[in-house]
């Protein structure tokens, strides 16, 4: 009997299967979304899952451009894709300001009263992905997101 695939970081190779470096420009977001969806579908994620996964990456990269690079063009963002039988791991590497990793619960009613326009992206990322982790080492920030494949 074959063993089920590992569902921890050991499931993934230390070297990315695919890597993309872009500049911090929002006009490139659509390309990242389409590429991520393409990779996920090639890797046998159902289309609906692949679309949601690419939305989570869009949100993460948008946050980097807006908050870490303050919407200034020219900042580098490297997106590493790790593929395994158990799922997909995506690491977004960037410099600039460290991310706000506050764990405050998103309360839509309160945000409406405060007339807030932002703050939904991280909720979307956390809802779609199985794991979202931010780290900063020696000035390099990393947003790691994992989506495990659901059993058929």
């Amino acid at each position: 009997m074959s063993r089920p695939p590992l569902k921890n970081s050991a499931a993934f190779s230390p070297k990315p299967d695919f890597s993309l470096t872009i500049l911090s420009e929002t006009q490139l977001l659509k390309m990242v979304v389409e590429l991520t969806r393409h990779i996920a579908t090639l890797f046998q994620f159902p289309l609906n899952e692949a679309q949601k996964l690419s939305l989570a990456i869009d949100e993460a990269v948008t946050n980097v451009i807006k908050h870490s690079y303050n919407s200034e063009p020219g900042g580098e963002i490297r997106i590493d894709y790790f593929l395994a039988a158990a799922g997909m791991r995506i690491c977004i590497h960037y410099r600039g300001l460290a991310p706000d990793i506050s764990v405050e619960e998103v309360n839509i009613g309160r945000m409406i009263k405060k007339k807030k326009k932002g703050g939904l992206g991280v909720k979307l990322m956390k809802t779609i992905m199985d794991s979202v982790t931010y780290t900063t080492v020696d000035g390099e920030n990393c947003c790691e997101m994992i989506k495990w494949r659901t059993a058929k």
Partner: protein, 120 residues
Amino acid sequence: MKSFQIRSKMINGVAVLYLKGHLDAHQVARFEKELVRMIKENNFNILINGQDLNYITSAGMGIIMGYIDEVREKGGDIKLCSLSERVHETFDLVGFTEIYDFIVNEQAALEKFSSVLPKT
């Protein structure tokens, strides 16, 4: 061709915004500009028709969130109609479907507005 297009028209006292294509952080300023124009012209009954919208991120949803309180304070509302299953699911992921009025088609949405609009 632009990946996101927006147009608007007035129907029976309701400002209808038609969104088409891919609405992300790169395009969101155009959506906000049009919504703000509607509000500044004292149109507080606003319907967002997403029949041709195939993608939305939190940037677009955030604009709706940011102005709905002002619109409701003025006695109006922002409703949404004709969304594809995919776009509706995106709104659902952040819990918007519990707070906003999502209506299946434009006709039904306009009827819903007309039930609260003053008769002329």
